[in-house]
Amino acid sequence: MAPTAPAASPIPLQIDSIVKRFGEVTAVAGISLEVHERACLGLLGPNGAGKTTLIRSIVGRVRPDSGSVRVFGQPASSPAARQELGWVPQELALYPLLTGRENLDAFGRYQGLRGRSLREAIQWCLEWASLADRADSIVKTLSGGMKRRLNMAAGLIHRPRIVLLDEPTAGVDPQSRNHIFEMVEALRGDGATVIYTTHYMEEAERLCDRIAIVDHGRIIAQGSKDELVAQSFGTRSDVLMRLDAAAPNAEAWTASRGGTLQDGVAHFPVDRPSDIASLLEAAARDSLDVIDLVLRRPNLESVFLKLTGRDLRQ
């Protein structure tokens, strides 16, 4: 008798053609996604792109007009699915007059934890968020960064397998932001599947192995960072050449070489780094002084700009 093949583990998160309208505004216009186990998907897009509505649809706080969300094969609204999801909202969704420990106790109980498992979960949260020494401080006395970390801990106290982080670094200083990155990396190290929304491309680049660019309620591109850049720019890079501001023919010279001049900086697309040498030779030949020169590989921001014609933080 042939051995039975093990049943395939359901995909952690499957989103199928979700549409959500608020009156005349379409916040999500038919998004489909699959997020695989242990993956970290970055939802990158400007404010108002539909990222938060998508996240709120996943956790059941927004009822889509059409489409479906399944968590490990279960409808997202089912108790089993809710148990697998941990949501950290953008807002500081905490009780300001309770201590950090009391907040964790409350949100742990709301998730059904009791007794020893609750105590252990609180302890894990406090250590993960580096708040053990401020556990008994009233929340409103904590710094902004500490509140953010506690906000994350409160959302994940039940140790869900899927973690949804909605702009968790909003309004924090660079040091606290770094701390939060380390917390997310620790989660990934523990095997969590992470969905991370941000409009900071450096966060998406550092933390996520796949990125979905969201604009006007749609996913306009999806893949790893390198795949997205390659899709938009191929192997092309940008050469940024600062020219002597006094040169009278700089604009015409830049245009004749296929570039554009902005604020005294000539931008040239190049396919190979070796193309830089020919640009420098041409400048020398035409008596133009080059003050400095940078070779820049396109990044996610460039991809977004190319795809939408707008800056990511507009």
Binding site: F22, G60, R82, A93, L94
Partner: protein, 433 residues
């Protein structure tokens, strides 16, 4: 500079609907309520004092006095309990049944005309041989007994004119050393005319209000007795503990219920509802918290009343417990409803102020309902303040058993359930969008 500050102030006020309502709507609403309650008291709708009349004498004089009391516009007299539909007419009140009726709050006073009153109904001087009319009253309504006593003298003067004339004749005979036969004949003829006038007046169903008299006179002997609060040290403590307690309970519940709005604003509500907590569970939790808070507040209030004002709390614990549970539940539901219908804290605060002050004014938390016009007293029953105060009054003032609290407890619990269901309905907007 000052103009800019003033302009900014008005701009901000214009955009803050809550502040606008507090500033302009609440005072006008309050003025209107007080104007209705007190303004009408100077007109024809002055509240009438309900008095039960018992005639044990059944003499001509007592019948005239009863008739005079009936015709007195400031009094609403009853000689027998109200006849229920489809049932035979109940017997007339006796001294005992009238006293029981005053004790259970049917009327604030009863007037008993004793047997033998008609033999010597009035006197210009105090002395033996007079049968005093007894006034039994409930001192939780201190106005009623005084009004009945005063009006009784007035009615005696106008309805017993024959008796007055006879008495005057006797005094005249005594003072003058005896009347001649001619004088006696003339006086008897005049007395006959006065009796004829009395009889004619009796025949008229509505003789109109009698002329104004001196209410402080002593034509008829009167004996008053507080049949409800005669053994109580302070008649109004229980009343005001309940009245003020309920009003502040409402403020507390609306403030604490507003935490729902704070949680909605901070995002905590979203987080809670995305966990294993349903909206019904959440509201039930909030309701329990608010009800416990309200119970604690009422308990503190009554303990303070017991400690400082000698309120007899400890012999009424069962009634106090029942009324406190019912009142706290209703007030907690009210607080939840206020929060669930409001979209912002400012909106909730102004709505709460308007509703609480209105309900308290109409429902008797600010001043007793018995001093209001009859219509307003009935309107007051639409507020749960009135039912709560009535219940506590039954417990602490009338010493009624817990079973007699059924109407008050029933209304309060029913209102509480309805308010909670309404709060649940309006809270749907937070469930998911």
């Amino acid at each position: 500079m000052i103009a800019t500050i003033v302009r900014n102030g008005f701009r901000a006020l214009r955009r803050d609907r809550g502040a606008l309502v507090l500033c302009f709507v609440v005072p006008v609403a309050f003025f209107s309520i007080f104007a209705i309650i007190f303004g009408s008291m100077s007109g024809n709708s002055t509240p009438r004092v309900h008095v039960l009349v018992v005639d044990e004498d059944h003499s001509v004089a007592s019948a005239r006095l009863v008739r005079g009391l009936h015709q007195e516009r400031a009094l609403a007299t009853d000689t027998r309990p109200e006849t229920k539909t489809g049932e035979p007419k109940p017997p007339e009140y006796t001294a005992a049944t009238a006293e029981a009726a005053v004790k259970n709050g049917t009327a604030p006073a009863a007037l008993i005309i004793p047997a033998g009153f008609g033999a010597n109904p009035i006197s210009f001087t105090p002395g033996p041989g007079r049968q005093p009319i007894r006034i039994l009253h409930d001192s939780s309504n201190p106005v009623a007994a005084q009004m009945v006593a005063g009006l009784l003298q007035k009615v005696a003067m106008t309805s017993l004119s024959g008796s007055m004339a006879e008495l005057g004749t006797r005094y005249l005979a005594l003072a003058s050393g005896g009347l001649t036969p001619q004088q006696r004949q003339n006086l008897d003829a005049n007395l006959a005319r006065i009796r004829e006038l009395d009889a004619r007046r009796d025949a008229q169903s509505d003789a109109g209000a009698a002329a104004k008299g001196d209410n402080t006179g002593g034509l008829v002997a009167v004996e008053t007795r507080d049949v409800v609060g005669e053994n109580k040290k302070n008649s109004m403590i229980a009343y005001y503990a309940a009245a003020i307690g309920v009003m502040f309970l409402m403020f507390t519940a609306s403030g604490a219920g507003g935490s729902l709005l704070d949680e909605a604003e901070s995002g905590a509500l979203d987080r809670i509802l995305s966990a294993r907590v349903t909206m019904t569970t959440l509201l039930a939790g909030k309701l329990t918290y608010l009800a416990l808070l309200a119970s604690s507040q009422l308990t503190l209030m009554f303990l303070w009343g017991a400690a400082v004002f000698h309120l007899d709390l400890f012999t009424h614990l069962a009634g106090f417990f029942v009324m406190t549970v019912a009142t706290s539940f209703t007030v907690a539901s009210f607080g939840l409803l206020l929060a669930s219908v409001s979209h912002t804290r400012a909106q909730q605060a102004s709505l709460a102020t308007l509703l609480i002050l209105t309900l308290s004014a109409i429902g008797g938390s600010m001043f007793p309902r018995y001093i209001m016009p009859e219509t307003m007293q009935k309107v007051g029953l639409l507020t749960f303040n009135a039912w709560a105060i009535d219940g506590y009054t039954k417990v602490f003032w009338r010493d009624e058993p817990v079973s007699h609290l059924a109407p008050q407890v029933g209304v309060l619990l029913g209102a509480g359930v309805l308010l909670f269901l309404a709060a649940r309905h309006f809270a749907r907007r937070w469930e998911s969008v």
